[in-house]
Amino acid sequence: MSFYVYCVVDPIDSLPDETLKGLGQQEVSLLRLAELAVIVSEFAGNTVPVSEANVIAHQKVIRSLLEVTTPLPFRFGTLVSESQLNSYLSSRQPALLQKLDDLRGCVEMSVKVIWPTSERPRTVNSEDQHLGSGTAFLAAKKEEIVGDATIASKANELLAWLNSHLDNLIRDEQVTLRPRERLVLAAAHLLERERLPAYKNGLAMARAERAGLHFLLSGPWPPYSFTNIDLEFKSKFGVN
């Protein structure tokens, strides 16, 4: 029998919403293994289809736990047997307990920023140049490199500016900067839930200050982006 695993939690006595169903309308249960508590549901089959319904069910279950405890979400699609789960939890127990400590009382908020064309520093694209000669090619490359460095530093400046409005409110952040893209900044912020009102205010002030930037705010989310318990290098190693 496979379990679909949603998250590890700080131990609680019962589920906050007994009626909430998981993937495939399965009942959700609380399991105690290796002195940790895990939220699971039964799952028929060997693979988890990535469908809108499944993704939403996954998020809803974990979200409901956020109301009453600290969830450490598993990656979407985690299917294991009880013994596999047990062995994972026992071997990672100290790290998981530590992580629960770190995240207790915290939520994740997400900020994304688009800088529309007018706000973006102009870059020179060497492909646009008339490439008649090797020398012209290198000259154009130089412009491009300088341009890249300029936008990279503008992007970093943007991040620093944003952080200045959120000083002391954030416990941790995960940021992706893409200086050459319109979606220049995507940040996940970890903060204590009591700080939410101050955080939202900080953001409101930032938005008012730079009306040329386009913001998307979402949250509060369970701390999906802050669950890394493996050695930094091992955790995410992808071929793009």
């Binding site: 994304k112 688009i114 992808g238 793009n240």
Partner: protein, 121 residues
């Protein structure tokens, strides 16, 4: 219980933006440029390998360009050397573009995610 009942969270994550359409477009683009799957059939394995190899070549090519520009700025190259260097790099860029086209790979696909260290390119 660590969570004060006096601080209830709303039932659903709120999303707040004045530019929904733009963000939908950008988020879709981000999802488009992420990895293609590596499949077990041989054609895709080749594809996956080609991608890896081209990514590394692309990385080195950019390093070469930067170094060439640095040398050019440094003033220790003659005009003829600059011309030769430029032409060679120009051909390299064009060649790589051909290879990308042959394998049906977009520019954004050539990258390596090194986790917290960031992306290679």
């Amino acid at each position: 219980m660590e969570h004060s009942p006096g601080n209830p969270l709303s039932a659903e994550p709120e999303i707040e933006t004045s530019h929904a359409e733009e963000f939908v477009e950008e988020l879709r683009r981000v999802t488009d440029t992420l990895p293609s799957r590596i499949n077990v059939d041989s054609q895709s394995v080749e594809q996956g390998l080609a991608k890896l190899v081209l990514t590394l070549i692309e990385f080195i090519r950019r390093l070469l360009e930067k170094q060439a520009v640095r040398r050019m700025e440094g003033g220790d190259l003659s005009p003829e050397q600059i011309e030769e260097l430029g032409l060679a790099l120009m051909r390299l860029e064009a060649k790589l573009q051909d290879l990308k086209t042959q394998f049906g790979l977009a520019d954004e696909e050539l990258n390596l995610d090194l986790g917290p260290v960031g992306r290679l390119i």
